[in-house]
Symmetry: C2
């Protein structure tokens, strides 16, 4: 994918790319820093988030092996608008923004793919904006669980193949740890999900999807 749409350009990429390793807890880049490169995740888990004040954050997405993060070249602003923090030790393939821009310049097909990717991201972001503005917290948590299920898949035991801290889950759903805790309790009582320490399992998808469609005027 890092090269998925080039041709005679491949040797240049192999030449330019660098492998970088990061440990859990490390910050790969920080909101406000000058944007220098784009990363392709070969291994591990990263969270991409925006901060607010000292101790509040909204997590924008989680990246797993095979995914791309950190690109903001081309755009008018040249600083990272987000922070990337390692959740599970990772290995990344890095190229500088300059080189990546040159690559885009030279590879029309890659540019189209890249555009397509970002159009999808934009649609997801717009949907989440609506959810944050209009949906209740429980719905956003339901939505997150469905998203994690889709993105990370499930193991043999049916549990989602990703173990997050509750604080991070809350920060993705746009709520506090305490509210997250209470809503999860309710979802368990309602028989929608099962929780075993850091593991989450969806047992009634319909019930979760229901929260996606419920209108604020209906209370139940």
């Amino acid at each position: 994918m890092c090269r998925h749409s080039s041709k005679g350009w491949l040797p240049a990429i192999v030449e330019e790319r660098k492998i970088k390793i990061f440990k859990r807890g490390e910050v790969i880049f920080k909101e406000g820093e000058k944007a220098e490169g784009i990363y392709f995740l070969l291994q591990g888990i990263v969270k991409v988030h925006k901060q607010w004040g000292e101790d509040r954050e909204l997590i924008l997405h989680f990246s797993k092996a095979g995914e791309l993060f950190g690109y903001r070249g081309l755009s008018d602003d040249t600083v990272y608008p987000v922070t990337a923090t390692v959740l599970e030790d990772c290995k990344t393939c890095y190229v500088s923004i300059d080189f990546f821009n040159k690559t885009l310049q030279a590879n029309h097909e890659l540019t189209l793919q890249f555009l397509k990717f970002h159009l999808n991201e934009l649609r997801r972001a717009e949907k989440r904006m609506r959810n944050l503005a209009l949906m209740e917290v429980k719905g956003r948590i339901a939505d997150m669980l469905l998203m994690l299920h889709k993105q990370f898949g499930i193991g043999d035991d049916g549990y989602i193949r990703l173990q997050l801290k509750r604080q991070d889950m809350a920060a993705y759903a746009g709520t506090t740890y305490e509210t997250f805790f209470r809503m999860v309790n309710e979802l368990v009582k309602e028989g929608a999900i099962l929780v075993k320490s850091k593991q989450f399992k969806i047992i009634d998808k319909k019930k979760l999807e229901h929260y996606d469609n419920i209108e604020s005027t209906i209370n139940s």
Copy 2:
């Protein structure tokens, strides 16, 4: 801009484009409908919004003459993820998605421009997501006023060159009409803005920007 980056392709565009006229209140396209084309606004004002249930909405942005809206081709989903409604009578230049995709295919420079545009949109969306999740309502209203000021400019009298209904302003800020009303009163009392019927004027930009940075732990 509709052609800003083509060459021998121009005649084809002139051939394919259609001028469409819409009146205030008309829906140009609706969330969930099959996406058929892309619009370039020649005249008027359009709001692009997402709906929730029967009567709740979040406005994603306002478009004025010279701006583009409605494109979702290339992306995996082929339905409009948003609704476009006319706020002021408008004249649009329309091309089908099929033709636009062909145009992208044939014009690398246009594709790059288009990518750049959407990268910026994505950054804006991510910032707004954070605001909706973590900022208080008054801050989001302050933010909106600064945005409108920037996008639409001001007239000789210093008032923003766009007259919206309060309900629409509230729907952009992600709140209800009543809360919007109260917060605007406070901003007026604080001497940050001036309001004359549908006209808004920023008189203390610093004060508005302050709400953009204030942390939830500071109350004043």
